[in-house]
């Protein structure tokens, strides 16, 4: 799994590639925490290069969403979510908790 952060004017974009499971979820979570630690609460997670995500990854997303939405200071949105992962997010009830965008730049524009 590879994760990179790109800074925009009003938000940060976390670009995650590869597979997020119990082995790599800590690294994924850490990268999201680092964004929040810098006082950025509007985050786009670009999933176009994501091949796989288990509940370990979902939990990291949820923890981040809770932090970002606290005090209404921001939110996490998901962009370019692959079909299989979108189906799993839906099964887990997560599609109600996150806005999904087709295009990452569209997501950036929405925040």
């Amino acid at each position: 799994m590879e994760i990179n952060t790109k800074e925009f004017k009003h938000c940060d974009m976390a670009i995650v590639k590869g597979r997020v499971d119990s082995a790599t979820a800590p690294q994924f979570g850490k990268a999201l925490e680092t964004i929040i630690d810098r006082g950025v609460y509007k985050i786009v997670v670009d999933m176009s290069g994501l091949e796989y995500m288990s509940s370990a990854g979902f939990r990291a997303l949820l923890a981040t969403q809770r932090s970002c939405k606290r005090y209404n200071r921001g939110e996490v949105v998901l962009a370019s979510v692959p079909e299989r992962i979108r189906e799993a997010l839906e099964l887990a009830g997560f599609t109600e908790l996150f806005k999904l965008y087709g295009d990452p730049l569209e997501a950036v524009g929405s925040l």
Binding site: R19, D21, S22, A23, Y52, S54, S55, A56, F58, R59, L62, A63, Q65, R66, K69, R84, E87, A88, L91, A92, G93, L97
Partner: protein, 134 residues
């Protein structure tokens, strides 16, 4: 076919490849293959985390076989007995602040597979996951 794995998360890649290959050979479609891999990953993660408390020095077995019209995956571990009925199901209707994070893996397993069975046997804990084809 049965493979033995150490109780560390980095083997999850290999477990997913193992069951994924078997599922592919058995002719499951892409969506089902992903479901099978995800369910097995969730099961194995729970074994590693809960049965052994993430102690990396232990081992557990994963067997995967296509029988008649179904793929049967069995995880055997010799760790702490697990009582799945004690795990609260996540409240999917709760809002963000209330929603419990725990139990998600087990919940997904049940949704993704056709049958999930836990048995505590003298030989160890046995978790069976079954996915019917088509």
């Amino acid at each position: 076919m049965t493979l033995t794995f150490p109780t560390t998360f980095k083997i999850l890649d290999d477990i997913r490849s193992f069951v994924g290959d078997q599922a592919r050979q058995a002719g499951f479609n892409a969506k089902d293959i992903y479901s099978i891999q995800l369910a097995t990953d969730e099961a194995a993660s729970n074994v590693i985390e809960h049965a052994y408390g993430e102690n990396p020095g232990e081992q557990f077995d994963v067997s995967c076989e296509f029988q008649n019209d179904r793929l049967v995956i069995i995880l055997m571990d010799h760790g702490k007995t697990f009582e799945p009925s004690q795990v609260e199901e996540p409240n999917l209707n709760a809002d963000l602040l209330e929603r419990k994070i725990g139990g998600l893996g087990i919940y997904l397993m049940h949704k993704l597979m056709d049958e999930v069975r836990y048995e505590s046997t003298p030989a160890g804990n046995r978790l069976t996951l079954i996915k019917r084809k088509g």
